[in-house]
């Protein structure tokens, strides 16, 4: 079914192309929202990503998951969008990370997706991208290092900082709610 679907898209079938977009766009938009600073940038990333997908569709070799291929394309588009801001990641020395207080996991579980999304969006670019790639997308630090052209240690430190940052924000939220 996947092969026929792609074949229809490559035959300039407008309905098939729209169907492909409607099928995958919501999930990809969710990814874009996590990687972007705000909605406007997320929309830009989604638009650029799908244009890339349709441009390179003829090179898809039916090896592996089609959704996985689309997902990787969107993520790469997001990374390229923030590449310039990731320049300094390698220059950041590995500092000692402040150990935070015990976090109440219940707080996180009570937060809505939009609230979590807002927390993630507030992270600096480098922290946010590494957090998304490792925690939600499941890439290893070695893979993240290759994608972002940074060292494995830098990726680890970025993730630690991201989580530390998130915890601080969550604690603030808890205090506010109390």
């Amino acid at each position: 079914m996947k092969k026929d679907f792609i074949k229809e898209c490559l035959s300039n079938d407008a309905k098939a192309q729209e169907k492909l977009y409607r099928l995958f766009a919501p999930k990809m938009y969710g990814i874009c929202l996590r990687f972007a600073k705000n909605r406007m940038e997320a929309e830009d990333i989604l638009q650029d990503g799908f244009i890339k997908i349709f441009t390179n569709l003829k090179y898809f070799r039916n090896e592996g998951s089609f959704e996985g291929w689309i997902r990787r394309t969107i993520i790469n588009t997001a990374i390229n969008h923030y590449k310039k801001n990731l320049r300094d990641l390698n220059n950041i020395a590995i500092e000692h990370i402040n150990i935070t207080n015990k976090t109440d996991d219940d707080i996180i579980s009570k937060l809505s997706v939009d609230e979590l999304l807002e927390l993630i969006n507030e992270l600096p670019d480098g922290y946010r991208i590494v957090f998304n790639l490792n925690v939600i997308e499941g890439y290893t630090h070695k893979e993240i290092g290759k994608m972002l052209n940074i060292s494995e240690n830098t990726s680890k430190s970025q993730l630690s900082r991201a989580k530390h940052n998130l915890k601080k924000k969550i604690i603030k939220l808890k205090i506010r709610s109390n």
Binding site: A14, G30, T55, N56, K84, V135, K163
Partner: protein
């Protein structure tokens, strides 16, 4: 600590697992206006369709060849293969009075007669003389004589009167002489007769006719032995080729062909050949990439405010600054080289002429050949430095068309090292009636290629 972090990880992951918000509508409107138009697929774009059509074409050509050049149709010359063995029927036609031929054996005592100069005697190999008179002079030759009635064997030669070569005169009172010879002059032994008889016996005629017939039969057998029987042969070949584009800046391409060909030799000199081949070729792909590097160039302190402090020394301005990073935003162009690979199916139909000398067969053949593009492998453009923002990618290499026709000429040298097997070497010239690239990109209208086709042929 790690465990706590792991909890957070799982919580975030779970929360975003089913996070599928609907994007705004204007995004699809922008995307669909930027979707490229893909080249149309034709009947030949599907791999299995190409193979199927090729097989059908080969079968159709072979069937047409069978009906045109039916090897099993009999010809009038085939009658020669079955000559009659009944010689007597052949020798006599209805005009002759004598209906059968009898061969006479030689018996009886000999008598000697004086010879005259005009008497000539030719003895056949079967002639035998039982006695030999001592008084035989040099000029006397033994002449066999038989009585008229007694010693006649069953086979008696009667000379048809219609034969103008025969002058035999039989007189019942005379001694009749029957001699198994080809030609003889016999003096009539009667006193009054001086007739010189020249007998050319029917035996002679029969023998000579037999000899002629035998010769004809032998010739026929000879002809049948060396009569040409049409046959098939199959060969497996490999051909490296160089393709030339004289009028363009495209570098010359190379290709490697592997093919299986079937030849039908329907006469001693002429044959028809077809087959299926796979050709692998490549060319250099070229992309120009417009990009921005976003390199960090440095920073400067940007003064956003100035205040003045009053000190004992006087008024001192204080400049309030902020650090501004500067990144390279100049657009760059890079050229990315790739190697494009193509796989073609080739279907030739060639007509040829050949002749053999000793163990070598020389041939020349020519005809059209159809190439159908089966696969192409065109890598994407790539840049070593990933820390860039790509603006635009242009593919500079022309696009290849799905099918193209060529005219092929081969000169063959075939060395036969057994009855069935031979090796073949064929310098070839291929003239492209239509280029493999789209016309608007190429100046050279008719590229050409040269190659050396080498293979093994089996005759059956």
């Amino acid at each position: 600590m790690k465990e706590k972090y792991k909890n957070i990880d799982n919580l975030f992951k779970q929360k975003f697992e089913d996070f599928n918000p609907e994007p705004p509508g204007h995004i699809w409107d922008n995307v669909k206006t930027n979707i490229p138009v893909y080249p149309k697929n034709n009947i030949f774009s599907n791999y299995f369709t190409k193979i199927f059509i090729s097989i059908i074409a080969i079968i159709a050509i072979l069937i047409a060849g069978y009906f045109i050049f039916d090897p099993f149709k009999s010809s009038p010359d085939d009658k020669i293969l079955n000559p009659t063995t009944d010689q007597t029927k052949i020798l006599f036609d209805t005009n002759n009075k004598i209906q059968d031929v009898e061969i006479r054996e030689i018996k009886t005592e000999e008598t000697f007669a004086e010879t005259k100069n005009n008497i000539k005697t030719n003895y056949s190999e079967n002639t035998e003389f039982e006695t030999f008179d001592d008084n035989l002079s040099n000029n006397k030759i033994p002449v066999e004589k038989t009585t008229a009635n007694d010693d006649l064997q069953k086979n008696r030669t009667n000379i048809p009167e219609s034969n103008t070569d025969i002058l035999a005169q039989n007189n019942s009172d005379d001694l009749t002489q029957y001699i198994e010879i080809e030609e003889v002059k016999i003096e009539n032994l009667s006193d009054n007769s001086e007739t010189t008889a020249l007998i050319t016996t029917e035996e002679n005629k029969i023998n000579s006719d037999n000899e002629i017939r035998k010769e004809n039969i032998d010739n026929t057998k000879y002809q049948n032995k060396f009569k040409f029987n049409p046959y098939f042969s199959i060969g497996v070949y490999i051909t490296p080729e160089f393709i030339f584009y004289p009028d363009d800046s495209i570098p010359n391409n190379q290709s490697y062909n592997f093919d299986v060909s079937v030849s039908y030799h329907f006469s001693n000199y002429y044959f028809i050949q077809t087959g299926l081949g796979i050709s692998f070729s490549n060319d250099d792909g070229k992309y120009t990439i417009d990009y921005e590097r976003c390199d960090y160039m440095g920073s400067y302190e940007d003064v956003y405010d100035v205040t003045f402090d009053t000190t004992p020394q006087g008024i001192i301005p204080i400049y309030h600054t902020k650090t501004v990073d500067v990144y390279d935003s100049v657009r760059h162009i890079s050229i990315s080289q790739t190697k494009n690979k193509y796989t073609y199916l080739q279907i030739p139909l060639l007509f040829g002429y050949n002749f053999s000398k000793n163990k070598i067969t020389y041939s020349v053949k020519g005809g059209p050949s159809l190439s159908v593009l089966l696969f192409d492998n065109i890598p994407d453009a790539n840049l070593q430095d990933e820390y860039i923002k790509i603006i635009r990618i242009n593919q500079k290499m022309p696009i290849r068309i799905q099918t193209n026709w060529q005219f092929l000429v081969n000169f063959g040298f075939n060395y036969r090292f057994s009855d069935s097997f031979s090796i073949s070497m064929e310098p070839s010239l291929r003239y492209y009636i239509r280029s493999a690239y789209e016309k608007k990109y190429i100046t050279t209208k008719h590229p050409f290629s040269v190659g050396l086709r080498t293979g093994v042929v089996y005759k059956f």
